[in-house]
Structure formats: structure tokens, C-alpha cells
């Protein structure tokens, strides 16, 4: 069963991966980091990405339950992932659902020329699930 470091290592194996982190969005605390940080400071990057993740997780516009109100409400986060694109990079934030109360997400920073956003998104989804489901 993988822990935080094994999952980060696997994420860094993706094409174009430059940096990866597991971050708590309520506090902005990085629980684990690997690779380079876009700000050259893991803690600053964690605080900034956590703020973005918090907005996505908490704002009501993204939390519309539609027809599956109860099923959605039972899950940890109403949002699956947040994608930010820049001329040179992709940033993928993937929420991790735990059965106990937590607020954790993966942050993967990809080089835009080398990275494959669709592949990374699918792989990160799998990693986020394996981190807590084994």
C-alpha cells in the first residue's frame, strides 16, 4: 500500500512532471513534496495552491448537487480536480477523498511541451484513490 512518498514518486514519473506535492487545503500545509517548486519555495507554493483548492472546494457554484444530492453530499469534496494552464505549464490539483475528515489534494506541476494533461489527469485520479484505498 503506497504512502505519500510513493505516490509522489509515481506522479513524478509522468512525462513532463516538474514538481509534485500533497497539501492540506484548510491550512496550506505541505504534507510531502518532490521535485522542484514553481516558486522555489515549497511552503509558498503549498499556501497558494491550497487557497485555490479551497475556493474550488468551498464555493457554492461548484457544489451544485444536481440530481444526486445525497450521494454527492456523502463524498468528501464536491470537486474532483482543478486545472490551471499557463503558456509554459499545466498545474493539476486533484482532491483526495478520505473516510475520516480531511482536506487533502495532490498538486502536480507539468511542463506544457512534454506533459500530457489528459494522461496526467487520469493517472493522478488513480494515485489519489490508491493513497487512501490501498
Amino acid at each position: 500500500m503506497p504512502g505519500i512518498d510513493e505516490c509522489l514518486l509515481e506522479a513524478m514519473g509522468l512525462p513532463g512532471a516538474r514538481g509534485a506535492a500533497v497539501v492540506e487545503w484548510t491550512t496550506g500545509l505541505a504534507l510531502g513534496t518532490l521535485g522542484v517548486s514553481p516558486t522555489n519555495d515549497y511552503e509558498t507554493t503549498a499556501v497558494e495552491t491550497a487557497e485555490l483548492a479551497r475556493m474550488a472546494a468551498e464555493h457554492t457554484a461548484f457544489a451544485t448537487a444536481g440530481n444526486h444530492g445525497d450521494a454527492e453530499a456523502a463524498k468528501g469534496s464536491p470537486v474532483e480536480d482543478v486545472i490551471v494552464t499557463t503558456p509554459t505549464s499545466y498545474h493539476l490539483l486533484r482532491f483526495v477523498d478520505t473516510t475520516f475528515d480531511s482536506s487533502v489534494f495532490f498538486h502536480l506541476w507539468l511542463d506544457r511541451d512534454e506533459g500530457n494533461l489528459a494522461l496526467a489527469r487520469i493517472r493522478l485520479q488513480g494515485l489519489a484513490e490508491r493513497l487512501v484505498l490501498g
Binding site: 500500500m1 491550512t27 511552503e43 468551498e58 475528515d101
Partner: protein, 254 residues
């Protein structure tokens, strides 16, 4: 805001010491100079976090303690017996350790002692550098003050303010509001919700800033306290006093 005794924890860590840094508001455990555990009466422990939403049953928790507690391997044993994944253990334990350290290392006058050789029965999971823990503790204090610079709301019973034009609340904040009965404090709510105490304080301060919760008027004569008064008051709790006496008696026999 600086923690009162940054040097003591960092100095002990620099000496690669093993033992417990004891303060009135909590305890931080070092193993070979790294922070491996922390606990505080203010912060729900790993057991509270895992049991609140039935991630573990109390029987499973108790069996693990019985099996691995004496060997100080409770955390690892939860994974070895397939009760938790490594990821779950790490996420939960790190959350609990940083939460307890926030209260344990909070700036406050009072004695700080270091008991060499003391280890915690939970056992190491993901050791942390002492500097990282101290820096995070300071950052958290600044975060609270940025959200709503009124520490009074941390310790007081949470009272709702039902003005019609208050902005919408988030799902996590809704859970806090639903528990606000004018008696519960953020500390008791954190235990009921199975959430770290600091996370609950963040939501309480945000709710107070948005006008959903009343901010008690600061007593004119009171010194601004860097740590919620209820943390210190906890030692007056008869259960905790009893536990402390038991602990001291046990330690005296070692």
C-alpha cells in the same frame, strides 16, 4: 508571533535528542532529534479523528493498542493489520501532530521541561524537522489573525448570529454552525466533528468575520492572550488532573 521557546525544541533536535518537551499546553516528542508525535488536551488525537466518522471501530483501535502499544508501534501496526493504508495513516497522523504542536508550542509563559528518553506509544510515522514544526506553528497563528483578529472567539461558547443578509456558508462551516448551541466551544465541536482543533478555529474565525457568529466583547482589563484561555483551563478539568496524577505516579515507578 514567535513561539516562546523555539530554541529549546530546536536545541534538543540539534543534539539529536530523544524525549518529550513538556509544556502546560501540550507535549512534543522527539526521536533522534526529529519530531515524531505531539499531543495537547486542546487537539483531538488520532483516535478521535479516526473513530468520529467510524473509519475505525473502537474495538479495532483498542485491539491495536493492546497488541502494539507496549512496543510503541501502534501507527505502523494499523497499516500492517490492514486497518488503514499508509496514506491514510500519514495524512491523519500528520494532521494530528501539527494540530497538537500548534497548541503545545503556542507562546505562553510557563515552564518548559524536557524529559530525556520519553517515547510515545503511537510510534513514529513520518518524522518531521523541528524547525518545520515551529515555523508551521507560527504561520498558523498568523493565518488565524489574518482571518479575524479576535482570539476571543476561539475560547467562547459559539453563538450564532442569524442576520438575514449574511453571506452563504461552505459545507464544512455549515457543520460547525449546526453544532452552535451557545454552550459548545470550538474545542468540543472539533471532537464531535472528528476534525483537528485548528481547522475548527479557522472555520469559527471565518464565520465570525462573516457575521454568522457573535464575537464576544473583549474584557477591558484582559491581556490579549496569544493562546485561547480554554487551553489553560483544561488543566482544571478533573479528568485531566486525574490523568496527570496517574501519569506522574506511573513515571515515578519507572
Amino acid at each position: 508571533m514567535r513561539a516562546l521557546n523555539p530554541s529549546m525544541l530546536v536545541r534538543m533536535a540539534g543534539d539529536r535528542a530523544t524525549g518529550a518537551l513538556l509544556r502546560e499546553t501540550g507535549t512534543v516528542y522527539l526521536l533522534d532529534g526529529e519530531v515524531v508525535h505531539a499531543e495537547s488536551p486542546a487537539a483531538p488525537g488520532v483516535d478521535v479523528l479516526l473513530l468520529a466518522r467510524r473509519r475505525l471501530s473502537s474495538a479495532e483501535w483498542q485491539e491495536t493498542i493492546d497488541r502494539a502499544g507496549a512496543r510503541c508501534r501502534v501507527g505502523r501496526s494499523l497499516v500492517e493489520s490492514n486497518l488503514l493504508t499508509s496514506g491514510e495513516l500519514e495524512i491523519c497522523h500528520l494532521g494530528a501532530v501539527f494540530d497538537a504542536a500548534f497548541f503545545a508550542l503556542a507562546p505562553r509563559t510557563g515552564p518548559t521541561r524536557f524529559r530525556y528518553g520519553a517515547t510515545h506509544w503511537f510510534g513514529p510515522v513520518r518524522p518531521l524537522r523541528a524547525e518545520v514544526v515551529e515555523r508551521e506553528t507560527r504561520r498558523r497563528q498568523e493565518l488565524l489573525d489574518r482571518i479575524w483578529p479576535h482570539p476571543e472567539v476561539d475560547s467562547a461558547p459559539v453563538v450564532r448570529d442569524r442576520a438575514a443578509d449574511n453571506p452563504a456558508v461552505t459545507r464544512r462551516q455549515r457543520a460547525v454552525l449546526d453544532l452552535a448551541d451557545g454552550i459548545r466551544t470550538p474545542f468540543t465541536m472539533a471532537r464531535l466533528l472528528g476534525r483537528p482543533a485548528f481547522h475548527t478555529l479557522v472555520d469559527v474565525r471565518r464565520l465570525a468575520a462573516a457575521g454568522h457568529l457573535r464575537t464576544p466583547r473583549r474584557a477591558a482589563a484582559a491581556e490579549p492572550s496569544p493562546i485561547p484561555a480554554w487551553v489553560a483551563d483544561l488543566s482544571a478539568d478533573p479528568d485531566i488532573s486525574l490523568l496527570r496524577r496517574l501519569r506522574d505516579a506511573l513515571e515515578a515507578t519507572l
